[in-house]
């Protein structure tokens, strides 16, 4: 464990019983807040995606005063809405051998044994409650003809445990959670702040005392005090510039909390999703995901011969390489994401890529259409096929889709303990914003599960455990000097961007930043490449600070100014990501270091030296952060080499 520090702040607080009994034990032992006293506590929830909306709704139902913040015009816009394929739950409705233990095990193994057992087991336990809750709210999940719920299969699992609503599962779940929160807004229990962005968190006497926000319409900087703050602000996949994230997704909330003392865990664990529409031209602003569920019926292949320019239907069967089926026969096209992505990269790097820019592989539905008929395929994936047609201009019913990996999800995030509390007492992180459940690689259909688990079934319990002892004790108000100082700092920061008056737009810098991160900290990383990135990033960041141009002013709606603040934070995070990737001298999940692979090109983990969480501590300079570790103990599963062959 070179260059790593054991830190007593990194105590997971997992109950000291066997893993399967932990959650019940926690719930029996936790402190409670009397229903009549709950209204004396104010909780801030930042972000209104699955985690944020479900947390805000549930906390308000319990009786807490909740203030919910979103930078969107409406809470319903959060990027959870774009999740397509589905949500996992250990219901075993198919009778195919699923169980809580199996979902727990699959998630730990899928994460390449780099997640905390206690949190993951709880996730598997509450997964079944999520489905019940969402159905009660009216989420129109897909049904069998008899009226019971339908399931499909997803990568990294050998059972069908994924519930879905066409290819719009995220949309339907988010609308469910949004509607539940909307009810609480209507009842006056949740106060909604839309088009309002967090620009700082405030810590007083070692506790989180509130946040500072910027009103995107007026530029006004405002403080908000609360007993506890929950960040449900998503992941940082947009650090790559091109990703499947929405345009506004950013790391700012988590990063600003990090700068105030919240440790940032495993930033190098990023997920490159294997099935996205390849980049088409130089103006590309984002990449679009094609759901992993498509791999249930689509077959991935490339021409055996490099540089083969023939139309796909002219390439005979024996000249095609169905490489996932060949390399991973037991999982085939449903191999996990990290493994499928790297296999696609290897094929394209060998010159077998397809499409005008030779930057894709085929995902072919012709067998499925022959076997099932076009109607069935349309019913399962119609909206995805339509989306593909709009973007790529080709009809996937007749021409195979072209896909390529792209940044999609970030497993790393704010370090949290079993109660989802960061290293700042009173500051919580939930959903993609935390690091807790997916280790080094997330399995498909697990992000929705985690967001809703955290918001509906974990935070509402754990937050009371923190609040109970604070009953009737005064908390710092927004007139406290710490709030005033944070406000002044934020005003100065945003004015600073305007005052540079350089020549390059925030987007220009973002694109350049993204290129460096993608080239050196993307699907494959090397020591040499990461060192190169770490020498180039500070130079580019310095240029950003000297040559940025933000037009307009800070006193009205200014999208360029918003972007400048977000790109600033991405720069600092980018440096930390590369440092983390450099220090983790092993390959695991989405973190693939070319130096650590076996003869067949599979990732080689180093459990002796790296079976731990790396939680970085801010020092004032992103290049000088301190690497603390939380050792991972495996008492329920055995560390094994991950194999999907």
């Amino acid at each position: 464990m070179s260059n790593a520090v054991l830190n007593d702040k990194l105590h997971s607080k997992s109950p000291k019983v066997a893993v399967p009994e932990m959650w019940e034990t926690f719930k029996s032992d936790m402190k409670l807040v009397n229903p009549n006293n709950k209204r004396k506590f104010k909780i801030i929830v930042v972000g209104t995606g699955l985690a944020g909306a479900s947390a805000a709704a549930t906390l308000a139902e319990l009786g807490y005063q909740v203030d919910a913040f979103t930078f969107h015009d409406s809470p319903r816009r959060a990027h959870s809405i774009a999740a397509q394929g589905g949500i996992n739950a250990a219901k075993n409705y198919k009778g195919d051998g699923d169980s809580i233990h199996r979902l727990f095990y699959d998630t730990i193994k899928g994460g390449d044994f780099r997640a905390r057992e206690s949190n993951v087991h709880r996730l598997a336990e509450v997964s079944v409650d999520i489905i019940d809750q969402m159905v009660a709210q009216g989420v129109p999940f897909a049904r069998e003809y008899g009226g019971l719920l339908d399931n499909r299969s997803f990568g990294g699992a050998q059972v069908s445990r994924t519930f879905y609503a066409r290819g719009q599962t995220g949309q339907q779940l988010l609308l469910g959670a949004y509607q539940q929160m909307a009810r609480q807004i209507g009842l006056g229990n949740v106060r909604l702040w839309n088009r309002t962005e967090l620009v700082d968190t405030v810590v007083v006497d070692g506790r989180c005392a509130g946040i500072v926000t910027r009103d995107l319409m007026t530029g006004e900087i405002v403080s908000h005090a609360a007993h506890a703050v929950v960040l449900c602000t998503g992941g940082y996949g947009n650090v790559f510039f091109l990703s499947t994230n929405a345009m506004a997704c950013n790391v700012t909330a988590a990063w600003r909390a990090h700068r105030r003392g919240a440790f940032f865990a495993n930033p190098c664990y990023t997920q490159i999703h294997p099935t996205c529409i390849p980049q088409a031209d130089e103006t590309q602003s984002k990449l679009t995901l094609m759901s992993e569920s498509l791999r249930n019926d689509g077959r991935v292949w490339v021409p055996k011969m490099a540089g083969d320019d023939r139309e796909p239907h002219l390439i005979p069967e024996d000249e095609r390489d169905y490489y996932l089926e060949r390399l991973y026969p037991s999982f085939g096209n449903l191999a996990p994401r990290d493994i499928s992505s790297r296999a696609a990269k290897r094929a394209v790097d060998k010159g077998q890529g397809v499409g005008p820019l030779k930057n894709g592989v085929y995902l072919d539905f012709s067998d499925a259409i022959t076997r099932l008929g076009k109607d069935v395929v349309q019913e399962r994936y119609g909206n995805l096929f339509e989306m593909y047609e709009r973007i790529a201009g080709e009809d996937p019913y007749t021409v195979p889709m072209r896909i390529y990996p792209a940044s999609h999800y970030t497993m790393g995030g704010l370090w949290v303990d079993y109660e989802l509390m960061t290293t700042i007492p009173g500051l919580y992180a939930a959903g993609e914003a935390n690091f807790s459940d997916h280790g080094a690689n997330r399995l498909g259909a697990s992000a929705l599960m985690q967001g809703l688990s955290d918001g509906y079934f974990v935070l509402p319990y754990t937050i009371g455990n923190y609040l109970a002892p604070m009953l009737n004790k005064p908390i710092p108000g927004t007139d406290h000097p710490a709030f005033q100082a944070a406000e002044a700092e934020a005003r100065q920061r945003f004015q600073g961007y305007l005052d540079i008056k350089g020549t390059r737009s925030p987007d220009w810098f973002h694109r350049e930043l993204g290129k460096i991160i993608w080239d050196y900290c993307g699907m494959e990383r090397t020591e040499q490449g990461l060192e190169k990135a770490l020498s180039e990033l500070p130079a580019l960041y310095e240029e950003f600070q000297k040559d940025l141009r933000v037009t307009g002013d800070g006193g009205s709606l200014n999208q360029t100014l918003e972007k400048a603040g977000r790109v600033d934070d991405f720069f600092q995070l980018g440096m930390l990501m590369c440092k983390d990737a450099l220090e983790r001298r092993e390959s695991c999940g989405g973190h693939f270091r070319a130096e650590y692979q076996d003869d067949e090109g599979e990732a080689t983990r180093d459990d002796e030296h790296f079976a731990h969480v790396a939680a970085w501590e801010w020092t004032g300079d992103p290049m000088q952060s301190i690497r603390n570790v939380e050792p991972l103990e495996f008492t329920t599963v055995h560390l094994a080499t991950r194999s999907y062959k």
Partner: protein, 257 residues
């Protein structure tokens, strides 16, 4: 991949809600036909920043046609010329070199302009807050398979639930009515067995909140034609039917008091 050249854009610029707006003309000299419409605006905005001018403000986020953030009247059509397609999914391959394209914000009194092409659609949230939900507080839900839902019912609910809340229906409607948006949510919830307990209360609250902000429906059908998710106006009939029933029920309950 080929390029289109000389795209002339007439764009509505308005500095703030109470300011006078006007059209300004811009030229995009060259753009790839693979670019999306919004990427074409990105290119324009980069050009404007380069010239030291303020870029055009427009709402957008997922760019996958699902979040409903993007808007834009393109040549007088909500979300532009391609049927069943949100602006963010519209690509330049649908246009020709030398095209002159007029870009405006949603025009509806319930959607005040914030700046340039961005409008405030918060009235939609008010409608949902009034009743667009099923009261099912966290914790007490029965097993999900306890209520079998016939597949055609689940499918019909899903068809309505596909609404992305973009507001194209309102922008396309000569009356600025929000009946398609409201009815889609009413239909989603009122078709399902879980939604029956609050069925009539829901429709009443939602319709009456809608009427506070939006114009009235006179069956033009423009909303359906503009909807990027192609939601059928049949849902409006369903909403009217339930609203009428709700009013009769209420009259009965009034007579009992």
């Amino acid at each position: 991949m080929s390029h289109l050249s000389d795209i002339k854009l007439k764009i509505w610029r308005q500095a703030g809600p109470d300011q006078q707006g006007r059209f300004e003309t811009y030229l995009v000299p060259s753009i790839s036909d693979e670019a999306s419409f919004l990427e074409m605006l990105d290119v324009l905005n980069e050009q404007l920043i380069h010239e030291g001018r303020e870029p055009v403000v427009f709402d957008h986020d997922c760019r996958e046609g699902i979040c409903g953030t993007c808007s834009l009247m393109i040549d007088g059509q909500a979300h532009g010329p391609q049927r069943g397609t949100a602006t963010c999914q519209l690509h330049m391959r649908k246009f020709q070199s030398g095209a002159e394209i007029v870009i405006e914000p949603w025009r509806a009194s319930a959607f005040p302009i914030i700046k340039d092409l961005m409008v405030d659609r918060a009235a939609f949230d008010r409608i949902v807050e009034a009743g667009g939900f099923i009261t099912a507080e966290t914790g007490g839900a029965p097993d999900a398979n306890l209520i079998p839902i016939p597949k055609p019912v689940a499918d019909a609910a899903m068809d309505a639930a596909a609404c992305i809340g973009c507001g194209a229906c309102v922008a396309a409607c000569p009356n600025g009515a929000a009946n398609l948006f409201t009815a889609a949510k009413v239909a989603h919830l009122n078709l399902l067995p879980q939604g029956q307990a609050e069925r009539f209360k829901r429709v009443e609250a939602m319709v009456e909140t809608m009427d506070e902000y939006f114009g009235s429906c006179t069956n033009h059908g423009e909303c359906e034609a503009a909807c990027p998710k192609e939601i059928s106006i049949d849902v409006i009939a369903l909403m009217h039917q339930d609203y009428r029933k709700a009013k009769f029920q209420n009259r009965k309950s009034l007579s009992r008091t």
